[in-house]
């Protein structure tokens, strides 16, 4: 039976309203849970770049561990502490949306730095620097942990939106991430080299600035290389400044935050 055009239009409109309402309703209801999951995931990655947390199953334990061990600051491109955003609201490193941040001008972007402290002391064990870039299909992001010498890579935790499973998506697997451990980002002359993946997967031992690539995922590898290089350049001034300050007993930036929070 042929339906009239009016029937078709009304049918489509009603269907759209019902389905749209259903979807937006679900989205609103589930949003808080999803946000929590994203927060937990971010904290897991920050910790995971430095230590093995695969044995901790309870989300609350991870959040507690994070509160105990991690301090965060936000710096600008010149390595100076940034406390407020352009609207005058206080900046919280954990709240910065890396994807939105990435669209801002390089000069005005806030750069979060997460510091994992040695257990029960004020000494920085390692610095975790968040990064963001483009993979083959969509965005990729990463947390790169540097030892307190700010040169040796302690570990990395990469994430991606839609790299090819089994190929580019392998950047999230321990096998690939372990290749970064112990590599150096500065050469002996002190200039920034970053760490790059080579093409192909040979299992060879490479020099301290190169790691084995992922077979079949050269373009994702290139994306990761570009992201590391780019963001390490942005953080370079901060790294230099912290290194300078580090020759003194304690890192300046850290103390500012500590005093602020603990009111010593």
């Amino acid at each position: 039976m042929q339906r009239s055009n009016l029937y078709i239009i009304v049918f489509a409109a009603v269907l759209t309203i019902i389905l749209g309402g259903l979807l937006s309703g679900t989205s609103v209801v589930l949003k808080p849970l999803q946000d929590k999951q994203v927060e937990l995931d971010t904290k897991k990655k920050i910790l995971g770049a430095v230590m093995d947390i695969s044995n901790i199953k309870k989300p609350q334990e991870i959040l507690d561990l994070y509160d105990q061990r991690v301090k965060s600051i936000v710096v600008d491109i010149n390595g100076d502490l940034m406390e407020k955003d352009e609207k005058g609201n206080p900046l919280v490193a954990e709240k910065i949306d890396f994807q939105k941040n990435h669209k801002k001008d390089v000069q005005t972007r806030p750069y979060p730095v997460f510091m994992i402290m040695k257990e029960g002391s004020d000494e920085v064990d390692s610095y975790v620097l968040p990064m963001f870039g483009a993979g083959l299909w969509d965005w990729i992001s990463g947390f790169v942990a540097l030892d307190s010498d700010l040169n040796t890579v302690r570990g990395v935790a990469f994430d991606h939106k839609s790299e090819t499973p089994g190929l580019g998506a392998r950047i999230t697997t321990p096998v690939v991430q372990q290749r970064y451990i112990g590599k150096k980002i500065f050469d002996e002359q002190g200039s920034l080299q970053s760490v790059s993946m080579v093409k192909g997967e040979n299992g060879e031992s490479l020099d301290s600035h190169h790691i084995d690539g992922m077979s079949g995922a050269t373009l994702t590898g290139k994306g990761v290389n570009a992201m590391l290089k780019e963001y390490l350049t942005y953080y370079e001034t901060f790294i230099e400044k912290t290194k300078e300050a580090g020759k003194k007993p304690e890192v300046e930036e850290v103390e500012e935050v500590v005093t602020e929070e603990q009111n010593i």
Partner: protein, 225 residues
């Protein structure tokens, strides 16, 4: 004359048992003789992509069964009021809504799975099996029959991709459901089995799938016409 009146001649008995012979066939046919992957060769893309490990494959199977059953049910209930000229769009809208719901729930409750499967769950929308069943079955059959048909097709899809995933994970990563099978064997007997990297690539899925199709067609005597 519109295409929605494809009503096939269904023998209407006064009260058909819930699992009559005819209805059983809706479930059992797609498992073997009319399997959506191996016989109809639909839904191959996701079968190749998600089958690296058992766990995401299982989640994907559940998601597809859910989507195909419920879209079949909804479309079947609506089949008499859906205007024929926009039926494909209506089917697509229903499928897309269900898929988005699955995706949102995964994000809220199984975030790790969401990260692995996010892209593919979204792609269930284009899974040929789902649209195929809607167009071929739900548009012309009653709700209960359509649910059975959805279950059949869903499980037919599920067992094939789970089998593929089993071999790929075992041979490619030496584990099953992340349990290190090869590692355990090595610990017990001291004999190290090398893993096969080819299985982790999509090529591995092609090979396993090809072998399954081969065995199945030899057994059933199915010939392509």
């Amino acid at each position: 004359m519109s295409t929605e009146t494809l009503e096939q001649a269904i023998v209407k008995e006064p009260s058909e048992p819930l699992f009559s012979k005819r209805r059983k066939k809706f479930i059992t046919d797609p498992l073997n003789d009319d399997n959506p992957i191996t016989i109809q060769v639909l839904g191959i893309c996701s079968a190749l992509a998600v089958t690296v490990k058992m766990q995401p494959t299982l989640v994907m199977s559940i998601a597809v069964v859910f989507v195909v059953v419920f879209s079949n049910l909804i479309i079947s209930l609506m089949r008499n009021i859906i205007p024929g000229r926009i039926r494909i769009i209506v089917q697509l809208a229903i499928v897309a809504t269900l898929v988005t719901l699955v995706s949102e729930f995964l994000k809220a409750y199984l975030f790790d799975m969401y990260k692995v499967l996010g892209a593919f769950v979204g792609l269930i929308i284009t899974n040929c099996i789902v649209m195929g069943r809607l167009e071929a079955f739900a548009m012309a059959n009653k709700a209960y029959d359509s649910v059975l048909d959805g279950l059949g097709s869903g499980f037919g899809y599920a067992w094939i991709i789970l089998t593929v995933a089993f071999f790929r994970e075992l041979l490619g990563s030496g584990s099953v459901f992340d349990f290190p099978v090869y590692g355990t064997i090595q610990n017990l007997t001291g004999f190290a089995i090398p893993t096969n990297g080819l299985m982790v690539d999509s090529i591995g899925a092609f090979m396993v799938l090809g072998i399954i199709i081969w065995i199945q067609r030899t057994k059933n005597g199915y010939v392509e016409h």
